[in-house]
């Protein structure tokens, strides 16, 4: 059993970000949180971390609908980056469109599709998944 060191939240909605941080604190989800306002910002920073050989996040919670670079575009770019570390990616969106769900699941890097709103129960599941994946 290992705890999540760093969780990364990519979402442009400050209320959601505020909420998820609270939930994470409540359940002691992780040690550190990285927050990016859109796909582009996330990509730039993650690339920088990789090249600086700093610590990458263990889990990414990715929104789909974002300005500049949206969730899909981020995914397309991110999976191209060679990276040794196994990162669990969750798509977290309010969309219940089956097309979105199917598309998200078509990426093997995407672990699951979480429909907003996020709740304690849902994040606990993520945590549980992570513990199973790394144990």
């Amino acid at each position: 059993m290992s705890k999540i060191d760093i969780a990364c939240v990519i979402d442009d909605d400050p209320i959601f970000v505020f909420g998820i941080k609270k939930v994470m604190q409540l359940i002691d989800f992780c040690k550190g949180i990285l927050v990016f306002k859109n796909g582009q910002e996330a990509l730039n920073n993650l690339k920088a971390i990789i090249s600086a050989k700093e610590q990458l996040p263990d889990v990414i919670l990715l929104d789909l609908n974002m300005p500049v670079l949206d969730g899909w575009q981020f995914l397309e770019e991110f999976i191209k980056i060679p990276c040794d570390k196994k990162i669990l990616i969750y798509v977290v969106s309010s969309s219940v469109d089956p097309e979105d769900v199917l598309r998200a699941k078509s990426y093997e890097n995407v672990s699951d599709y979480i429909v907003k709103p996020i709740s304690v129960a849902k994040l606990k599941e993520v945590l549980y998944d992570f513990e199973n994946a790394t144990s």
């Binding site: 909605d13 209320i15 959601f16 909420g19 609270k22 939930v23 409540l26 789909l64 609908n65 969106s93 309010s94 969309s95 219940v96 469109d97 089956p98 907003k116 709103p117 996020i118 709740s119 304690v120």
Partner: protein, 639 residues
Amino acid sequence: MKLKKVTEEKQDAHFKDHYLKSELYNLVKTDSAIFDFIQEAALDGIWFWDLLDPENVWMNPRYWTLFGYDPEKMPHKVDSWQEIVFKEDLKNVYANFTAHAEDPSIPYDQIVRFRHKLGHTIWVRCRGVMLRDDRGKPVKMLGAHTDITTIKKKEEEIKLQSAFFEHIIDGTGLGTWKWNVKTGETILNERWANMIGYTLEELKPISLGTWLEHSTKEDQDRSNKLLKEHFKKRTPYYECEFKMKHKNGEWIWVLDRGKVVSWDEEGNPEWMVGSHQEITKKKRDFERNRLFIQQTPSAIAMFDNEMKYLAASQKWLEIYEICYQDIVGKFYDEIFSTVSKKRKENIIKCLRGEVVKNYEEKIHRKKGDFVWLSWELRPWYSDENEIGGIIIHVSDITRIKKEEELKSLLRVAEDQNRRLKNFAHIVSHNLKSHSGNFEMLLDLYIQENPEIQENEIIKLFKTASQNLSDTIAHLNEVVLINTSLDKNLVPIQLKEVVDEVVKGVSAIALESKVAIHNLIDNDLKVLAIPAYLDSILLNFITNGIKYRSEERNSHITLSAVQTGKHVELSIEDNGLGIDLKKHRSKLFGMYKTFHSNIKNARGIGLFITKNQVEAIGGKIEVSSEVDKGTTFKIYMKYE
């Protein structure tokens, strides 16, 4: 010498007693002036011929002046007249002379042509009588000339004229008739007889009956009416078209025309002359045209130049809602009570040879509906290249117009659909994330401040937030139902799916004491989208449980039969039932509930279900009785 003629003897006897005659005869004998007067005034020449000495012949002066010669200069010799007589006639003269010489009862009387000094012909009636001796031998001959040139010329003229007319009549192929209205005497020409396949000889004796025998009773009646009109001088001539029976058994069409040419003192018609013209071909052509027009699949009507109906197609009658009897012999404006001024102008234009077109015109009909018409006026030409009338061609373009309307509706629908998709997107992404935030924040707030959980306002706040999320979820579900194409449908074993769904609700069913029976055949398959079919079944079954009656043992029975192109799935319960009289129209509406005492009735289930059923190409029927139960029938496509 005794002058004597056989015929005159009788007359002598007849007039013997008249004193004036005896006196005149005596005067002639005694006074040569009297004889001179007679021969100059009454005759155009006298001659006296010595048959015993035939060189000598005496002619009076008038004899020569008739031919333009001076009597003084002309010798009293036979040669002198023989030179100016027509050679062809001379033969005849000799023959008659010989005959008369041999038999006094044969009169010497002929027409002889003489050449006038100026070259023209003088026609002379030449009569003569021979004077015979006691033994009957001719010794002298007395002759008299009468100038008949004027009469002859007239005769020639008449001959020429009648030859001319005959020629013309021959050329036109007209049969001719003359009919004495008073006596019934009838004269026909050869062509009249030939027209119906006979020679004139074969038809003899000719009478009015000759026509009657070869025509029909109704044509005769019609003809009689027209004749009477003409006899009363109401029509300048008589004209009638009728059928006549040909020798070969067929009927031919004849145009009969005639005119009274002489009237008696009382003004009654006497002689009437006329002609028969065969118009079978024209009639047949016309009949063919009429048939052609009648059977044309488009709307056509043919009019003569007075806009009287000649023919109209079935389609024409249909469009204008008239029957054939209405139009026979009627005028265009008799049928259409309101003919616009514009239309009248167009008709006049067309009768002058113009083609007039109109593209769209809306006609209101008796039933209250309307048709869109486009029409065209076109002149038609008779044989003589004259405008015989108008053909009006009308097309029913209602369908095209409706298609246009439909297309524009479709465009509107497409726009709507696009907007709906945008709306779905907004609901899915924006509204939902906002409501999600609400829910999340409220949860966090309660978690951080557990003491407010019992606060009434917070409770209501939570319900409101939950309701908002639910509503948005439903809305999303509804707009996401796509009407699927057939290719998206997959064959599904109905019984299996029902079993699955029933298994899913078995806990609630058990709790609610509702028995669920699945009577569907094992191998019955329907074409559907699996998720939709699940949702549909779940909805009906949970509805059945939800609206059960507490007063009896509840059950839900599912059965299915194959009917025509569909599988008819019946879901029957013995629950509360729905008052369809009140609620049928809004049964499948959004947010409609019909049972105030049932909790969790959101009024969304049937709405979504109906949409899903329609999306897979099916339909729903419902029958229900309050407090007896409800049966839903779902028709789905089957493989």
